[in-house]
Subunit: 316 residues, 2 copies
Amino acid sequence: MSTHPVRIGIIGSGAIGGFYGLMLARAGFDVHFLLRSEYAAVAERGLTVESRVHGSLNLPVQAYADAADLPPCDWLLVGAKATSNAELAPLLVQTAAPGAKVLLLQNGLGMEELLRPALRDDMHLLGGLCFICVHREGPGTVRHQALGAVNLGYHSGPAADAGQAIVEEGAELFHRAGIDSQAMPDLALARWQKLVWNVPYNGLSVLLGASTSALMGDPDSRASIEALMAEVVEGARACGHEVGDGYAAHLLRVTEQMPDYWPSMYHDHVQQRPLELQAIYAEPLARARAIGCVLPRMQALYQALAFIDRRNRAAE
Amino acid sequence: MSTHPVRIGIIGSGAIGGFYGLMLARAGFDVHFLLRSEYAAVAERGLTVESRVHGSLNLPVQAYADAADLPPCDWLLVGAKATSNAELAPLLVQTAAPGAKVLLLQNGLGMEELLRPALRDDMHLLGGLCFICVHREGPGTVRHQALGAVNLGYHSGPAADAGQAIVEEGAELFHRAGIDSQAMPDLALARWQKLVWNVPYNGLSVLLGASTSALMGDPDSRASIEALMAEVVEGARACGHEVGDGYAAHLLRVTEQMPDYWPSMYHDHVQQRPLELQAIYAEPLARARAIGCVLPRMQALYQALAFIDRRNRAAE
């Protein structure tokens, strides 16, 4: 093992990078934040997490505006939107220590496949699914409402054992920061499982302008959520990923127990940022369709969101 | 045949009743308008149709605030929303001459079945489908953008010949007012055909806040329209109504040639009136499902609209 303490780079701040980065820094890891629009605020006032679980945290952090200034990192956590991965690739290569592990904390499918060719052969690539209610409140400030677990899986790289030891090393980092984390033997399955939540709630929050409580409290939107979940499970199975029978029901219960929550796609929409439609809708739909599995409700939702996203950005 | 000139009652003004009533009055028919909120404006200033086809028309009309004041009518044209049929039934019975013909100028399915038991046995009941771009501009003023045809079919009543002579009599009324009109041998088929237009355009205009040009101009919303049309055709056929192969393509072409248009459901939504979801979505879906035909996109659209409608009216 390396003799220096584990050095972690957080690429792309926002709610996910800010929350997990600050929790890891608080736990004593050597954490470095590469920031863009938030650099000035964070350099001046540090990072703040207002958490209903962990209380109010504020720490000065090692913040950078330029990737060239970061020291080589052992772990690189990518919390940026999947829509910006193409421009992040060179920064990841630049800031990666030899044998570094890149962890994409993003929802959806296909991001690892797109990013892999831009990385070095010595770099490990992992995916992470965050089960957390968190959003960016303002420059350098993240509001954490509930949950927090990160499930990790290995995508590709030089690991001899299919990466399981590295995935467990990643889970251990989170455990030492007080965060629930599971090493998943099958990243593709983990990604499809997360889609069972993201597909209905992210999309319907934008389409209907409604938060989780409103969507769960109305009989018609709730029926829509359940039907979309069933389609995602069907798509996963068609693609060879066996999501369990009770998984959708489990997510419905978890969501009922959460505080009222506006999914990240809703915030992206309101702030006229591009929606993560490719990773969360188009790619899963394309994979299912390629083997003859049509998911009509998910397709209809995707088309409606594509219309909304296009108009929203044309209005910029 | 009767010796007095044909006397026509228009029950429920709004865009449809106002337009056709005024066209019939202009053609010399004895037309009587039963009005509610618009009575004062129409009694004072008459009815106005601003038409891109027929020019600007304004006529003083025979207007009534109370059904008891109307003379017995040979034809009763119902242009009110399908959502108000239950309260209209007694007014129809009250204003119907012996052997009167009631014509429901409404979209969707199931209205005749609901209304029939409330009518007298001597009354004929017909349905009419209006292919017209028209909306209410203000009290007593209707804006007519394009088209105008009315397709009629017989539902029920004392006609010996399954009503075909009566349907043709109705079509002839419209012809004499300069309006294209077809006597349809099969009202149920005609109603399903009209749904091929109403299901996609009405619902998506509310869901996406978009008019026909925007919906047709975006590749994703256009694909959604086409898929919804295909589902309605599938539902019609499952229910035994053979909508032709080229019918959806025909409606797409007609819509492309129309001026930009906001469907009536969009106006209902903006003005916080109840949406005609039962007739246009719930009833067709239930009829298809009763014989094992599931229409997932139409069901998803219906559930989204039901959520929106419920919230819209709760906000009143």
